[in-house]
Symmetry: D2
Subunit: 274 residues, 4 copies
Amino acid sequence: YTWARRLGLVRKPANFISTISDDRGDELCYAGMPISEVFSEKIGLGGVVSLLWFRRRLPDYATTFIEMILMVTADHGPAVSGAHNTIVAARAGKDLVSALCSGLLTIGPRFGGALDKAAEMFTQGSDSGMSAAAFVKAMRNKNQLIMGIGHRIKSLSNPDMRVTIIKEYAQAHFKNNKVLDFALSVEQETTKKKETLILNVDGCIAACFVDMLRSCGAFSQEEADELIANGCLNGLFVLGRSVGFIGHFLDQKRLKQPLYRHPWDDISYIVGDM
Amino acid sequence: YTWARRLGLVRKPANFISTISDDRGDELCYAGMPISEVFSEKIGLGGVVSLLWFRRRLPDYATTFIEMILMVTADHGPAVSGAHNTIVAARAGKDLVSALCSGLLTIGPRFGGALDKAAEMFTQGSDSGMSAAAFVKAMRNKNQLIMGIGHRIKSLSNPDMRVTIIKEYAQAHFKNNKVLDFALSVEQETTKKKETLILNVDGCIAACFVDMLRSCGAFSQEEADELIANGCLNGLFVLGRSVGFIGHFLDQKRLKQPLYRHPWDDISYIVGDM
Amino acid sequence: YTWARRLGLVRKPANFISTISDDRGDELCYAGMPISEVFSEKIGLGGVVSLLWFRRRLPDYATTFIEMILMVTADHGPAVSGAHNTIVAARAGKDLVSALCSGLLTIGPRFGGALDKAAEMFTQGSDSGMSAAAFVKAMRNKNQLIMGIGHRIKSLSNPDMRVTIIKEYAQAHFKNNKVLDFALSVEQETTKKKETLILNVDGCIAACFVDMLRSCGAFSQEEADELIANGCLNGLFVLGRSVGFIGHFLDQKRLKQPLYRHPWDDISYIVGDM
Amino acid sequence: YTWARRLGLVRKPANFISTISDDRGDELCYAGMPISEVFSEKIGLGGVVSLLWFRRRLPDYATTFIEMILMVTADHGPAVSGAHNTIVAARAGKDLVSALCSGLLTIGPRFGGALDKAAEMFTQGSDSGMSAAAFVKAMRNKNQLIMGIGHRIKSLSNPDMRVTIIKEYAQAHFKNNKVLDFALSVEQETTKKKETLILNVDGCIAACFVDMLRSCGAFSQEEADELIANGCLNGLFVLGRSVGFIGHFLDQKRLKQPLYRHPWDDISYIVGDM
Ligand SMILES: CC(C)(COP(=O)(O)OP(=O)(O)OC[C@H]1O[C@@H](n2cnc3c(N)ncnc32)[C@H](O)[C@@H]1OP(=O)(O)O)[C@@H](O)C(=O)NCCC(=O)NCCS
Ligand SMILES: CC(C)(COP(=O)(O)OP(=O)(O)OC[C@H]1O[C@@H](n2cnc3c(N)ncnc32)[C@H](O)[C@@H]1OP(=O)(O)O)[C@@H](O)C(=O)NCCC(=O)NCCS
Ligand SMILES: CC(C)(COP(=O)(O)OP(=O)(O)OC[C@H]1O[C@@H](n2cnc3c(N)ncnc32)[C@H](O)[C@@H]1OP(=O)(O)O)[C@@H](O)C(=O)NCCC(=O)NCCS
Ligand SMILES: CC(C)(COP(=O)(O)OP(=O)(O)OC[C@H]1O[C@@H](n2cnc3c(N)ncnc32)[C@H](O)[C@@H]1OP(=O)(O)O)[C@@H](O)C(=O)NCCC(=O)NCCS
């Protein structure tokens, strides 16, 4: 083997595999599609996301939906953990990437994480064939909150516009809305208990996105489930929210905000065992 | 003051200022535009970026241009520093955000940084009124490379499609292409010396973006210059490239790639003074 | 309530609780110990770690042990994932913090993560009262590798000096070495099968650290277990390895190493389904 | 060349150079010193830092000084930007590394950055031979604050213990305190104007560290200056403060603190031009 390799007959195996893009050729390619075709075919940024994340082209209604998710998740004000940390880093005079990352690194189970868990819960419930009532009851018995359900203020009579927009688009365009339908019947159940236990924007995005992957014709159900399991919904939130975090960074720079120090009187300093 | 404050007559000044979005009201607003209007007005993701980063609405051709920049910068293969680090972190079994940030944190002066510097150089040259020939000569005398000029392979006879697409769009749609025109005449000069000293994709994006900000009618030249100085071009590269990095993360996960260790034989281990 | 608060009779509850240090007073205090006392009592950096992480003072042999762990984990060469990413970021011209974080963000389940899992496994095994042979067999039946066991080259006849140093110190100084003893009897079992299935440095540090927390007299077993569960062993690896990563950053800067691009011939570019 | 390389006669040049540690041999080595010797020579963690950052062994008083710097910079309470961001990330349920990095990424020009700039200013002033009075006047004329001078509360009559400890150690142990002496004479000048314009802990650490590098006998002045220029003082702050940030992470986890949202009433939401 060694002499064969030395003579160029056998190549040393490559340490890396990569399948999403190719920068070596005459034209940059995303998942095999040359960049000029990316534009001539007008696939848009949603189409670029589908090529680089899913390695295939999706129907226009699907790539538009991807862009809609990015648009609704783009920001949610300066008070949330991630925007707050980006703002504090910007005020510490840090560069854009450092400030962005300081905020992104708060995204997880409690902030932004509802999407992945809502997708998991609604998909499992929908796939199981159980009724919404049975599902809600089972969750109650396990003493578990249904991710994607509930809002502090919004209700059936005072709906969240972001949910309306996402939901109506999915119902108008997708070939199948099985998981969304299940989520909506769960909402029917939970809102019997309290009007604010609506399907919230995270639950709506999650349910619709699963339906889109499963029914757009580009994936088998196994592939669709694997994509969700690997975190592409989380990826959409991270990408979308990066727009807002960068916006907050630019805002703080423009406003020349000084270094932040949290006020002592908002901290309980305690010494000794608790 | 203290008793007046205690009685609620005077409010303690807020520690934070934020102007880009408002999550407190009935509907989420981006720079004052309610989210339902963001969709009914069909401003797209480029429009959302313009609201959150520039705090105003831009003409459709401008928001489309923002999306085009994100699309051409979305990825450039797995070999570049940032994608490489994201891939190594993904192979180390890390979560999406950690892997993304590990890659983003390589973006700076040498990787991705040409955009900001190219914008600065071409804008200064164009604003100064000097001829392209004088500009090239001045840079040569200062022994400085012109950022945004040069490519290892691409040339006038073998152009970079990404440059063609961006350039032709700007020329077709912008009210003014002064900085691009200057950059193109610089290209005329430099390519006399060597065919590959073309206006590259970073230089093209930079020059066109300055022209767009300055001529779209939404900014004074001071505002446009401040936006560039605060790093919004860098932000576009960071946001765009996040698409590719997340794509590489999902790819490595799907391929179940194991922990990476750089081969010893590719490292010169040296001890003692050098 | 509102009028009472306005009149200063009732304080708004603080949003934050913090118990590890106090910067408000005349002297900075770590867990209640004034900084001058930190030095006059000669508790060393290990003592500072014990105050800030465990909120109490530990016996000198224990704080010395903490410093020993930091010393053995400080670096393991430039080829490992974390050092590699820090080096790539440094070569991209990034600042120290960005480069350090780019490397730290690879630390997790596959790189550096063996410590936490080894602590968990050996502690469970030791606490269960089962014999080492039964433990090894149980792991084999579950088709699970014992974390903290195994090395590619080191063996009983060619031991890892780091293990020898850590082990001998623990045996000489700790009041109790129950978990270490269990780990060593596991090693007796596994090395019957293959000489290189020794207790490795991660397993040795983990087992000894659990013994130290449990027997130094400063913690109940519940407190000790909670500290391990919350990740303090991981913290020691992260802190220790930061020394090496920063060293690699300074090294690359000194050597003026240029931007890194991974060679195309070490990457398998694949398009289409796999 | 190609056939010679194929036949193994010529080796492809390595892509990486690394000089600080070697993991390939029988024993791990830090800057050529085997790990067993690192312990038998009792160089301590300060000695490990000197091997990995400076690639040589330093006298004991110098490695002890390194540890002292890490001890005084280890933490400064939960209110500062970096600790605050780490705490917010911990409360967002993030892992130790993510939370640590979220905090580290605030370290820079405004938070933690005074060390590097104070070293630069005091060294330049000391090297220039100008009197402290002339230096203070020159800074005033340039309308520049002297980094390392000033404190909100501490003064000559109410000194900062951290400064006393560091200063007295340097004066007792270093062969030369030229930069410290200069800094102290600057303090003599500035405190004439206002009692709180003392040499603060950042200025004291910076001045003493330069003196240590320059006079410990292990570096030429060029090497010492290069080390400072490459950021090793910044590195000491980053490493030291990581102790505190990890402590805050463990504290928040132990206290099971929930997701943080900054109160709306502490944010001025403004729309439209400012
Ligand atoms: C958003 C949220 C915090 C709002 O909570 P809230 O309206 O203040 O509700 P409360 O905590 O007062 O609970 C009221 C009742 O509704 C129940 N409830 C609240 N959220 C629930 C959910 N997601 N699933 C099931 N039951 C829920 C509570 O258990 C409680 O029942 P009880 O009275 O029998 O104990 C909450 O609904 C939630 O955590 N949702 C899940 C997480 C999620 O989707 N996050 C994304 C938000 S955009
Ligand atoms: C991209 C790049 C590395 C390609 O370099 P290259 O084609 O191999 O060029 P060389 O280094 O061989 O230089 C050839 C000649 O062109 C000159 N040259 C190369 N890039 C130049 C530039 N950007 N501006 C001015 N002159 C340049 C060199 O100085 C050299 O002149 P000389 O023969 O008189 O010494 C180089 O052009 C560059 O660094 N460009 C600027 C950075 C930039 O825009 N980066 C984004 C790239 S997508
Ligand atoms: C370090 C390591 C990769 C070395 O592996 P290796 O010596 O090449 O061992 P192999 O993979 O060739 O396995 C040889 C045999 O030992 C067994 N073995 C290897 N590591 C084992 C472990 N940690 N626990 C139990 N059995 C182990 C294998 O299952 C195999 O048994 P088999 O022949 O019946 O299939 C491996 O021991 C390991 O993964 N250890 C656990 C992780 C750990 O502690 N990491 C920190 C390392 S410093
Ligand atoms: C720490 C600091 C904010 C305290 O400021 P302060 O005591 O409130 O001082 P003020 O801003 O009220 O200034 C009072 C006077 O002292 C001067 N002054 C304050 N800090 C000074 C400095 N570092 N160098 C020179 N003059 C200084 C001010 O210019 C002012 O002079 P003026 O009255 O003629 O305008 C300030 O001294 C400073 O920024 N120092 C430099 C940064 C530094 O070392 N940071 C690390 C701190 S641990």
